[in-house]
Symmetry: C2
Subunit: 279 residues, 2 copies
């Protein structure tokens, strides 16, 4: 694993760290952020995983969301993975901001040339999960997951496919149905190919139908001034799918808010408190 | 003035904006951040000016400090100027990160080739102050000032030289005496020349001696793991100067904290509450 500490900053009495390690799942060196609250000095603490959106690295949430304050109060660790493999070059991986680098979409690619490295689902659900549990004072049995945009899609799809691991899930402006929006169809075609049957494992609305969700209500915030809401994010599809599957959804449409971290930071406290209450 | 809005994000019920304008003081287009809390919709609100440190622009504090949450609660506007002229080129202005671009040191340069543009003191105290008062719902009579590192030096020196404007002042890891540290002597020599008599107007410890301070206690946070504390920042000199001048100082040495915005964000709430209580 060769875990290396890249940064360590005291923050709200805890410690905001960045680590790197050699990843088997992605075949490259990956970085992730880890916030350990003060309570971690006394034993294992529950954890919120945060999956970031297009173009992000592990840094965006760490520096912009202001989550450490509440995490320190609640005794919650924060794990923030990167959004794609890094340090490798694949033809076409940096031609667009919505595909390739910074745009792994939390899928396991099956199509060449992506299949060798773009295995972000496996990276998170198997490799990084095990690493974090083994190396840090984190209670894997009390795991929540959230994310933003592409990362909201990632958080919801991982929770729905691994409910034995993720006990509570939420999202900010998630891509509700990648099978039915331009960002998603581009990514799923590129990483998985044209067979849409293989896409359903990565589509929140399809997973709600096929698997349901018996955890606590899904908390979703969506800015009403978000420029992507009608074309890419489609909270209406999420609402329909939850209603059809009988899954409780707390969808809050926030007037005036856009797609930025100014939106995320405004409501992150509610998400942390929601998760902590269910962990 | 040609004030142009460059960004506007809803944040904690208020609005985080970025504006640009043609500056007479610096002879170039300048940007500044403005957070208007929800209370600004109902009339003029008190304001905290934040002066940033070396290498920063108006963006760092906006995205990293997490101050909007408390500002929204307290009804406090936040004004965040840039740290130097921009969009011009002067030989030597980008050879070092501690001089020139991003390193205006909040002085009015008198030495060529800097004197024409590097007039950040005048820019803030006269031009931007008047602009903000004229164009936004801000109560100039209730102004506080804070800043980080070079910006902590800026906040304290401006408060000490303009106490009729700045009613409360604080700082994070300020450069206490630029006349007596490498960053400061380099900048003051470059912008003002070798005559140290001209430097004293930009040295907090000298100003404490010559002018004193009759406002509320100066609140200063200093991380004990800050790598610059002993060579550049010298809180000991600030303590001595305040004691000699009979100026109340609340200097908090924070164990384990470094020089980053993780440190600033951990304590910014205390500063906002301190200032609000005195405005």
């Amino acid at each position: 694993m060769k875990l290396q500490k890249r940064a360590d900053h005291r923050c709200f009495g805890g410690s905001q760290q960045v680590w790197s390690h050699e990843s088997e799942a992605t075949g490259c060196t990956m970085r992730f952020g880890l916030y350990l609250p003060p309570q971690a000095a006394g034993g294992r603490v529950p954890v919120l995983w945060w999956l970031s959106g297009l173009t992000c690295t592990e840094e965006n949430f760490i520096t912009k969301a202001g989550a450490q304050r509440v995490a320190a109060e609640l005794g919650l660790a924060l794990v923030t993975p990167d959004t794609s493999p890094r340090g490798i070059t694949i033809a076409g991986d940096r031609e667009a901001w919505d595909f390739g680098l910074g745009a792994g979409f939390y899928v396991d690619a099956t199509r060449d040339p992506w299949a060798q490295h773009y295995r972000m689902r496996r990276y998170i659900v198997q490799e990084l999960r095990a690493l974090v549990q083994a190396e840090f004072p984190i209670d894997d049995a009390r795991t929540a997951m959230s994310g933003h945009s592409m990362g909201g899609h990632g958080a919801l799809t991982i929770a729905l496919t691994a409910p034995e691991w993720v006990r509570s899930a939420s999202a900010f402006a998630p891509i509700a149905s990648p099978m039915r929006c331009p960002w998603g169809t581009k990514a799923l075609t590129g990483y998985l190919g044209d067979d849409q049957a293989s896409w359903a494992a990565y589509d929140t609305t399809a997973l709600l139908q096929s698997r349901g969700w018996s955890g606590p209500p899904l908390l979703v915030d969506q800015g009403e001034a978000d420029p992507f809401v009608d074309t890419q994010l489609r909270p209406d599809l999420l609402e329909q799918a939850c209603a059809a599957a009988g899954v409780p959804l707390c969808l809050r449409r926030q007037a005036g808010y856009d797609h930025s971290y100014f939106f995320v930071s405004s409501f992150i406290e509610d998400h942390l408190r929601h998760h902590r209450a269910h962990l």
